[in-house]
Symmetry: C3
Subunit: 142 residues, 3 copies
């Protein structure tokens, strides 16, 4: 009976290792990066989209998760009058996630009607950036 317990413990430990290794492999397989846009600067917006494109070209679009988080003065990137609306649409079609911070919108009295169609939202851009880093995403602030 004792041996059975030991054996069961060993198996359980082995399985734990396998799942640990599987998690490590999964993160190794797919690169991930969260890109922060917090400046009211169209040059920075373009740079962020260029960076996303280069990353997709380097890894292959299906082998990297990219999320661009706009907040604070950077929220203008996703407003309906954004100077780079077309490029954002292209970027989203290419598989890049682009999200707007609802905290910022509330502070600036912006509603969804003030934003580009099909915009995705997160409650707090900063919290989103923290969470993504916690999940193993690299951080980039162009």
């Amino acid at each position: 009976m004792k041996y059975v317990n030991i054996f069961a413990a060993a198996v359980a430990l082995s399985l734990s290792f396998i799942s640990l290794n599987a998690a490590a492999d999964a993160s190794a397989e797919k690169a991930r990066v969260v890109i922060q846009v917090s400046d009211a600067d169209a040059g920075k917006w373009n740079l962020a989209l260029n960076n996303a494109k280069n990353v997709q070209q380097a890894y292959g679009a299906d082998k990297v998760d990219i999320e661009i988080v706009t907040y604070g003065p950077g929220i203008g990137m996703l407003k309906i009058d954004s100077a780079i609306a077309n490029r954002i649409e292209d970027s989203k079609k290419a598989g890049v996630s682009v999200v707007a911070c609802q905290n910022t919108m509330k502070n600036m009295k912006l509603t969804n009607d003030d934003m580009l169609p099909n915009t995705s939202y997160v409650p707090s851009g900063v919290v989103e950036i923290m969470k993504k880093q916690g999940e193993g995403y690299a951080y980039l602030r162009p």
Copy 2:
């Protein structure tokens, strides 16, 4: 005797796993972020304090550790003539840690008398930011 050894090894391994899991749980329980302020730009200083406030509101002030590190041109945020002295005081009362880089102060020939009362110091802002990331803090540069 051999079985006892095996059993002891299994127990030791199990304990190792328990402590690993405990460490993971501890970091999961409390969110942590280090916020860099290195620009001589009061707009950025306000944004950093707004970000800290939003993070506290999202997690609950007692469930997140926030440290704002000022260095280089950002050191002005904590100088005695800072344009946002009152807001910094409020932020510290709310539990946000705000520190000044002594390396920068030395280079700029600033003494503690040039800084806001009750300012906290670190020997090097950059090293502080590196250490915090090494401890698992997310990084944010508003």
Copy 3:
């Protein structure tokens, strides 16, 4: 035979733990930071070099790995007419790695002849920054 297997499994698990701990110790021994330069701003370039120097002074130059990655508008830091060419040379002699993004160079139609002598290159600055973070480097954007 069964006991031997269990014992072998326990030994294998123990060895796994030892290697895990060794890896953790190795990363703890040597501090590492990747510094991003993506602005066309000589003040930022100087700040990046100052930061690298301070980090070396704090840890000891042989106890920290520092890589400065220039890309986008920051590539000017390593162009042949860079305002801080001498400082970059000093920094490299002190053991700081400084690299230029070939993606940016292609977009700006820059060749190696347009860059400082002895410049090191990476295919993509952003991918380099992501990879370094994946290896455990702290991230700093001065």
